[in-house]
């Protein structure tokens, strides 16, 4: 269970830049995976989670990638392992 060693994006603190270490493509549908890649969310890229949920729920998650801000659900964020960006 490598998940124990990794931090998923789902639990990453807001406002801190992280690098995507691994994406479990099997945890999502093919369409979801393709849309993630179209947003540019791929192994090795840098992102910053910024906003999470509302009073109703922890969903969804807004993050920046490059100059773009995108929204994903926490179920997808849970399949994305991130690591700290070397300072």
């Amino acid at each position: 269970m490598i998940a124990l060693l990794e931090n998923s994006l789902d639990r990453a603190p807001l406002g801190v830049a992280v690098r995507i270490a691994r994406i479990d493509w099997n945890a999502m549908s093919e369409d979801e995976g393709r849309r993630l890649r179209e947003f540019g969310l791929m192994e090795g890229c840098e992102i910053t989670p910024l906003h999470r949920g509302s009073i109703f729920s922890r969903d969804p998650l807004a993050l920046t990638i490059g100059r773009m801000k995108v929204i994903i659900r926490s179920s997808q964020a849970a399949a994305i392992a991130v690591e700290a960006v070397a300072a």
Binding site: D31, R34, E38, D59, I71, S75
Partner: protein
């Protein structure tokens, strides 16, 4: 390419400013229709080259790649590849790129360039890129990609002549290349896009991003929700407060026209048809144009400014709990104006079951066609006073309650549907958040004009026709002296038949009579009652002087009035909604299901309201 008008397609990612560019190029010379067989909106328009030769422009739905995730994205692919039925393949492409988001937008551009059509790139929204501290080298991008790149600022009409000249040149000088294939996989594509973007950036000054500070408040879990609620409240307040004077003016105009016809045309069959049927009926509906425009004004502004996606973000949590997604928020909010554009907007929802559920509950949002009914009954039966010690008006509170009943009903229905007929895994919610932008008055005005035209055309066709037919049915056969014309007529007799069914829920003959023509559109219930009233009052001076509301007050009990309101929270009485649902779901199954479940709910809600009210002695 000899003689024929060249057709040029605008294509690009969502949020690249494509529609603004299209509006700037074509102005009001646009035609909005649907692609045959699908309900995706086809936006086409005309422009011309500097020397006056005409060109046909078509604005394709924004998409991220040629692999579609939703219906409208599929249209984009099919048109570009020349596979869309009834549509010729475009002679040239204008790829619209957001200058501030090149890394991402260049991916799709690379995919499109591999198709080897004559192509020009519009490096759009250059002003916003500069706001973000970016300086770009358009020449460099052009060199890397091998096609002309023209910097544009669509909203200020900057770069447009240069863009068209470049398109002209591209079509003339185009020579098929041996395919310069796009990178084979997503990762390689992104790498290439990033490399080009990096090469194109001359300088990048970090600027303080006020937009991020705005988002920190607007997307705050609590503060953001309060702002959203406040905006919604303001919107619905404005619909009532601002619409008053223009609505009164329209009403006065209809009255003047009726008076003019009565004064200048001798009493005959045709005059009655015009005054009692056409003018009374259509007039009763057209007065709601100001309210509809105000509602659409808000929706268009929220959308153009970039706020709408923020609202979707905030609502996603709640909507996720009943199996929907934040994507559904925009169609549902539009449904407060009218369910037809609302249902059409669902095509951007990628998950099929999520989309179906959103379509099925869209008619529960209180659309503007219910306003005439609600406004009439509330004004007649609910006292115009404040609620003890609060400063909140009782009439407004009842109206708010009706809106709320629709929303709560919709959430419960969605919850039930997602567990039964529209069962499926919880849909995802993936969306790009556009940057904040100042809405352009030209785009807003154009959008409002298109909405107003659709509404007026409807009033002039469906509503005019049903009122005239109803008037004929109400006028014949002529009642003998001493009998009520409305009761004696064909329509009156049909209504008497229906009355048997709706009597248990407190409905009377008036309502039964109004319900049948109101199948065409809810607001016809009002025009039908107005027409019946006009015929009923024929010749009776006292009755003529009374308003429709006053007449109803004398004839209905409060329990009946409340039951009638409850009925319209649910009743699916709108031919256009049923028709659009049939088209959007490709068959009669779902519209029939929708009509069935909504009538059941309407009957139950009206019944429960009536029986409760009677139990409290309001019968």
């Amino acid at each position: 390419m000899t003689g024929a008008v060249p057709s040029i397609a605008l294509v690009g990612n969502p949020n690249a400013g494509k529609s603004s560019l299209f509006n700037a190029l074509t102005g009001a010379r646009q035609k909005i229709a649907n692609y045959p067989g699908v309900t995706v909106e086809r936006k086409a328009g005309h422009a011309s080259f500097a020397d006056g030769r005409p060109i046909a422009l078509i604005d394709l739905p924004g998409t991220y790649s040629l692999t579609p995730a939703s219906l409208d994205e599929a249209v984009t692919r099919d048109v570009i590849l020349g596979k869309q039925a009834g549509e010729t393949r475009p002679d040239a492409l204008i790829i619209v790129l957001d200058a501030a988001n090149l890394d991402n937008h260049l991916c799709f551009a690379l995919e499109l360039l591999a198709l080897d059509l004559p192509t020009v790139i519009a490096l759009n929204m250059l002003d916003l890129a500069q706001r973000d501290g970016l300086t770009l080298d358009a020449e460099r991008i052009s060199k890397e990609l091998g096609v002309p790149v023209v910097p544009t600022v669509a909203v200020r009409k900057r770069g447009l002549p240069e863009l068209l000249a470049a398109v002209d040149g591209a079509i003339r000088s185009h020579q098929p290349r041996t395919a310069s294939a796009a990178p084979v996989n997503d990762a390689a594509l992104h790498q290439r896009a990033r490399a080009i973007a990096r090469a194109a950036i001359v300088s990048e000054t970090p600027v303080r991003r006020w937009t991020q500070r705005v988002d920190n408040v607007v997307l705050h879990p609590i503060a953001g929700m309060i702002i959203l609620l406040a905006l919604m409240f303001l919107m619905f307040q404005a619909v009532y407060a601002w619409a008053g004077p223009p609505a009164d003016a329209l009403e006065g105009l209809v009255g003047t026209m009726q008076g003019w016809v009565v004064d200048n045309i001798p009493q005959n069959f045709l005059r009655d048809l015009v005054v009692e049927g056409l003018l009374a009926g259509v007039g009763a509906v057209v007065v709601f144009l100001p309210q509809i425009l105000i509602l659409f004004l808000f929706i268009l502004l929220l959308e153009a400014s970039g706020y709408m996606t923020r609202a979707a973000f905030l609502m996603d949590g709640l909507m996720g709990k009943v199996g929907l997604s934040g994507r559904g928020f925009i169609p549902l909010l539009s449904s407060f104006a009218c369910a037809v554009p609302g249902i059409m907007a669902t095509r951007a929802i990628p998950d099929e079951k999520d989309r179906l559920t959103t379509i099925l509950i869209a008619p529960l949002m209180t659309c503007s066609a219910r306003l005439p009914v609600y406004a009439l009954i509330i004004a007649a039966f609910i006292p115009n006073r404040g609620v003890a010690g609060t400063g909140v008006g009782l009439q407004g509170l009842v109206l708010f309650g009706l809106y709320l009943a629709g929303i709560v009903g919709a959430l419960l229905v969605a919850w039930a549907l997602r567990r039964t007929v529209a069962k499926g895994v919880n849909a995802g919610f993936m969306m790009e958040m556009p940057r904040y932008q100042m809405p352009q008055w030209r785009d807003i005005a154009l959008g409002l004009w298109q909405r107003a035209w659709i509404f007026l055309r409807r009033a002039g066709t469906i509503i005019a026709m049903t009122t005239v037919v109803l008037w004929l049915l109400l006028t014949f056969p002529q009642a003998p002296e001493g009998e009520s014309q409305v009761e004696y007529s064909v329509a009156g007799r049909i209504a008497s038949g229906l009355e048997v069914v709706v009597k248990p829920i407190g409905f009377n003959h008036d309502i039964a009579l109004a319900l049948i023509p109101a199948m065409a559109a809810r607001e016809v219930a009002v025009s039908a009652m107005a027409t019946a009233n006009a015929i009923d009052a024929d010749g009776d001076e006292d009755a003529m002087a009374q308003s429709l509301g006053e007449r109803l007050q004398g004839k209905w009990s409060l329990a009946t009035a409340l039951a009638f309101l409850a009925w319209f929270v649910f009743a699916p009485q709108c031919i256009s909604t049923i028709a659009i649902t049939r088209r959007e779901t490709n068959g009669w199954k779902w519209p029939m299901f929708m009509v069935g479940y909504l009538f059941l709910l309407a009957y139950a809600a009206a019944g429960i309201t009536y029986w409760t009210a009677v139990a409290f002695g309001l019968g």
